[in-house]
Each structure stands twice: as C-alpha cells, then as structure tokens.
C-alpha cells in the first residue's frame, strides 16, 4: 500500500511541479493519439458511411471484417507497420520508422476499424425511410450523405471516444514503431512500461494517473456534448 501512496504523492509532485519531461511526454501522447484519431475519423466515417449505404455482394463479409478489425491487437499492427517501414521494407524509403509519424500511422490503423464499425452501425440504425425522405426533399446524393452523418452525430461521438480511448492507451505498437526515444517518441504508455521495468514504481504510477486523468478529461468533454443533446 505504501508503494501506491508514494506513487500518488510523486504523481502530484510531478504534476504540481510541472515537470518539463512529464509535460512533454503528456503533450506528445495527446498529439500523436489526437492526430491518429482525427485521421481515423476522416477515413472511418467516410468508409463507414459508404459501407452502410452501398449495396453490393459480399457486404456482410466486409462488415464482419471491419467489426473484427475493431479488436485488432496493437502488437500485430506494430509488427506490420515496422516491417513496412523497415529500412529495406516496401516503405523504407520514407525513413520514418522510430518517429512520432510512424506512431500516428500505427495508431490510425488501430482506430480506423473502430470508427468505421461504429459509423456503419450508427448510419444503419437511422430510420430506413430517412434516406428516401432526404432525397424526396430534393437533396443531391452528396447532400443526403452529409445530412445522414449529421443525424448520426450522437452515436458517432461514441466512435470518437472508442477510437481515441483505444489509441491513447495502447502501448505495443507505439513502442515497436516509435522506439520510446527519450524526448522524441516517448509517450505516457511507453514511459510507464519502461519505468515499471526499471522498478521505478512511483514514476510509473504517476504516469498512469496522468494517463487516466487525460482519458477521463477527454471522455468527460465528449460525453457532455453527447448528453447535452440527448432527449431528457
């Protein structure tokens, strides 16, 4: 128990003292996972909407594949991104392995199926005749898609939360493609793994508390938006 207590007081000290290293690690975590989430929203909402509205043979199979992708193990993603970005890999010429960019790529790959899957479900959950109603109001196909996404905005917020929650907390891919380089590609999760390995439980606990607070703050914000719009 003493260990936890010590860790928490250390965390408070680190936070209160605005430790520059902790701040930069926190900021990088936010930046990498935030960017990855944005990328996944762009890809996931568009492909999810397309998937929900289009009708083609093999659609169910594809939706099942996407839904499976929602549980994609980060280490597997990390492995494949590493292979692709390796010096003599297919994308080795980009020379971005062990950079925050590589981490964003890996995290976006993890979050995209999550956002896509939730988008498919959200759009398909809208009333069946809504699409026809919008077309009957004179909308072009593009206007119809925009209105449908707008109508599905509340369940889509759940997609944002799930996507962001998935990547800010993952460690496997980040450590593999980012390398946990001090002051460059070290984020909250990779730093926690390292400090735990070194036996610096107090620092590890401090980092974990920060990670939890960060997750909570972001989700609280999104939930507020979601609940404010919900009917009472």
């Amino acid at each position: 128990m003493g260990l936890i207590y010590e860790g928490i007081s250390k965390a408070i000290a680190l936070l209160a003292g605005f430790d520059p290293e902790v701040l930069s690690i926190t900021w990088l975590s936010l930046k990498v996972s935030g960017t990855a989430t944005l990328v996944s929203l762009l890809l996931g909402i568009s492909s999810g909407t397309l998937l929900a509205l289009a009708d083609f043979p093999g659609k169910r199979l594809l939706v099942s594949v996407v839904n499976t992708g929602m549980g994609l193990p980060p280490v597997v993603v990390g492995l494949f991104v590493t292979i692709f970005l390796w010096r003599n890999g297919p994308l080795g010429f980009l020379e971005i392995l062990y950079t925050p960019t590589a981490m964003i790529i890996a995290q976006a790959i993890i979050a995209t199926p999550i956002v896509t899957g939730i988008t498919v479900a959200s759009i398909q959950n809208l009333p069946g005749n809504l699409k026809l109603q919008i077309l009957a109001l004179g909308a072009t196909r593009w206007q119809m898609v925009r209105i449908l996404i707008k109508e599905a905005r509340l369940p889509l917020l759940a997609g944002v939360m799930a996507g962001f929650g998935g990547v800010i907390s993952e460690v496997g891919a980040s450590i593999m493609v980012g390398g946990n380089i001090k002051g460059y590609s070290r984020v909250l999760t990779t730093a926690t793994v390292m400090e735990t390995g070194r036996g610096n439980f107090d620092v590890a606990i401090a980092l974990s508390v920060i990670l939890l607070l960060l997750c909570f703050a972001i989700n609280y914000l999104l939930t507020r938006i979601q609940q404010r719009e919900r009917p009472r």
Partner: protein, 394 residues
C-alpha cells in the same frame, strides 16, 4: 378526370422485387389539383406505387411522364424530385428544431437565409404552429411531429405531394384535425396529391378520385362515391364496407329488373343478366331497415324478409345486427332505434331493403384484371351459394 391538364402519366409500370411482381399498373393518370387516394389492405402495393411515382424507387419496366417528359432517368429524376414532396407514416424529422426541419428542403435548394426565414414562417402560419418554431423536434407529440413533417413538405411549394399513410399512427382526434388541415391546405394551395391509406373514410374525405389497390394492381378507380357504392368486385365490396356480399342465381330478367334466387328466397334488384346466370351482389348494412312487424305495403322497399337476430355487436354509437333470413345479412342500427324496437338476440324481425340498394357484380364479367385472384377467393366453388364471401385478405 377533373378537366385540369395532365400532370402525371403512368404507362405499363411494373416493379419486380426478388423475382416477384409486386406492382403492375397498366395506366394511371394524375391531373393538376387532383387528389387521388390509393386504398387497399396492408401489403397491397400502395406504398410501392407511391414511392415509384415519386421516383424514389426505380420501376422494373414502364414509363412515368410528368407534363409529357419522361422522369425515370438520371438528371430528369433529380429535377422531378425537386418539384414534389413526400410525407411518410413516420414523421422522419431531423434532430433539430421545428424551424430547422421546415427549412430543410429550402436550404437543400440553396435559398438565402432571408428567403428561407420568410417561407418557413409563412408555412408555419399555414399549419398554425408558429409557436412551435423553436421547439426541438424530439419534444414534439406525435401529432405535432407529423404536422411538422407536413409543413416541411409544403414549405418547398411542391407541384404534387405524395403521402404514405400519413396519419395511420395517430390517435383519432389528432388524425381528424390533421386530415381537416390537410384538406384545407390542399384546397388553398391547389397542390395535386396522391394519398396511400387503408382508411376509407380518410380517402373519402380527401380525394377526388379513389383507386383500390390489391395484389399490386389497381382493381377499381373512380370517384369515391362510385367506388363505395358500386364496387367492381367482391374484394372492393368487402374493402369499402359492403358487409353483405352474397351470391345467387338469376331467375328472371325483364325491363332492367332482375329476380334472383338465394337459398329459396327471391330478391329483386335492378340490372341486366341472363336467366340461370350465377351472380354476386352486395348491400351496405346501412341500407337495411329493421322493423318488428311486417311493413307490408307500408314500405317502398321491394325486398322484405322475416329474419331472426343471431347476434348483436356494439360498435360504439351504432350496433351491428347479424340476421338470419334464409341467408345471412348484416344490418346497422343506431343505439336509439335499438332501444325503441326492444331488440334482443333470438328475436324475430323483418329486414327490408330497396331494390336500388342492391349492387350487382356479374361473376362472368371478366373486364377486370384480377380474374385469377377472384376465382381463388370466390366462394362459389366450395361453399353453398348463399353464404357471404369472406374477405379474401388476411
């Protein structure tokens, strides 16, 4: 039909879904300012026809013309859709305020803010719901929501409006109020309309013309009063409330009057048919008079039968009497007459009806396209000729 120019012209329209033909309409017209109602049981193809007319569903074959132009392809479809409006059974409102909902079609058309505002306020006034403008669509009652949906449709000033069971999920008073408003607004704006409904009273009230749809085909089309009183076949008869559909054989035919034999009783009615011919005829329960003593010469009704009351069913303000007078007959009575006549089950009474109250359907008449279906449901093959045909649906 109403002398106005032709607005919509449908020819040889067919819709096949999953290998099954769900719609087959050789010809259907809609004139300007005309209100056409499509009535029929659930699953008859009313909605499919309506959505196809609105170009929201691609027909398998056939042509739809709007003012002479074919509208079933590409750009023409899009232009056509901007001239119409559709209201569904569910309000399908957007998750926004009433104002935003009514403005939706106008914003889609790229109208300026000022124009939108003016038009929305006008439309809300028309539907007497300006006070609801800022209310969230989620907080509306069922009636208010459907009213908003109607306002959203009328805001774009459509040339024609398609309504698919618009009031089916509302409670009776709300339905009544909305039907009245719709009737008024259709009249004021002169918008042509097609209303799909299974409620014959709603159809009667709103429409200039009624088309009865069954099994994807238009079985009969004409002015509502004609369809209600002169159904083309047994299906239409039972659907429009002709509860007494009976069959018999022609005995004599002279000077436009027929004598039929029904279970040993003779019935007189106007019509032309050859002696020996089997026919079907129907009588509305409202047209049957009940007396406790033989009216004899006191009535102009040509058909008087002693009858036994088999069953009495209360339908709120009126009562339905199931009678046995050699053949079964259903009559309607008000609560008041029931009291004055001291009627009860098992009591002997006299049922009378005028010859002109009987509508003849000639079984051999094959001018309708649903002969196949008729033969399937016609009672004659497997039942005694005097039992009423039951409704072919359900």
């Amino acid at each position: 039909m109403n002398g106005n120019p032709l607005l919509l012209e449908v020819r040889n329209l067919r819709v096949v879904r999953g290998g099954v033909q769900v719609l087959d309409v050789p010809s259907l017209d809609l004139h300007e300012k005309e209100v056409l109602s499509l009535i029929g049981p659930n699953g008859a193809g009313k909605s499919t026809l309506l959505l196809t007319l609105a170009c929201l569903l691609q027909p398998t074959a056939g042509k739809i013309r709007c003012r002479g132009e074919i509208i079933t392809s590409g750009r023409a479809t899009f232009d056509y859709r901007r001239r119409l409006a559709v209201v569904f059974q569910e309000p399908l409102l957007f998750d926004a305020t009433v104002y935003e909902n009514v403005a939706a079609g106008l914003k889609i058309r790229g109208m300026t803010r000022g124009e939108v505002r003016k038009r929305v306020m006008e439309t809300l006034e028309l539907f007497s719901m300006a006070y609801l403008a800022d209310r969230s669509a989620r907080k509306l009652s069922g009636g208010e929501a459907q009213r908003t949906s109607l306002a959203r449709a009328f805001a774009i000033r459509p040339e024609m409006i398609f309504l698919d069971e618009p009031f089916a999920s509302l409670d009776p008073p709300t339905r009544q109020a909305l039907t009245e408003d719709l009737e008024r607004i259709l009249g004021e704006t002169g918008t042509a309309a097609v209303v799909a409904t299974h409620d014959q009273l709603e159809a009667l009230r709103l429409s200039d013309r009624m088309a009865v749809v069954n099994h994807g085909r238009i079985v009969q089309s004409g002015p509502p009063v004609e369809v209600m009183n002169r159904p083309a076949d047994e299906f239409v008869a039972s659907f429009v409330g002709m509860e007494n559909v009976l069959s018999g054989n022609v005995v004599t035919c002279c000077e436009g009057m027929l004598t039929l034999m029904v279970m040993g009783r003779s019935i007189e009615l106007p019509g032309i048919a050859s002696p020996g011919e089997p026919v079907v005829f129907c009588i509305r329960p409202e047209h049957i008079t009940i007396t406790t003593s033989d009216p004899g010469g006191a009535t102009s009704a040509r058909n008087v039968f002693p009858a036994t009351i088999r069953k009495m069913v209360t339908m709120g303000v009126y009562h339905k009497l199931h009678l046995e007078c050699g053949f079964p007959l259903v009559a309607c009575l008000t609560h008041q007459s029931l009291g004055t006549l001291h009627l009860e089950e098992g009591k002997q009474v006299f049922a009378s009806f005028k010859a002109t109250a009987v509508h003849l359907i000639r079984v051999g008449n094959v001018s309708h396209e649903h002969t196949h279906h008729r033969h399937l449901t016609n009672a004659q093959e497997d039942r005694s000729p005097c039992q009423p045909s039951k409704k072919p649906e359900k």
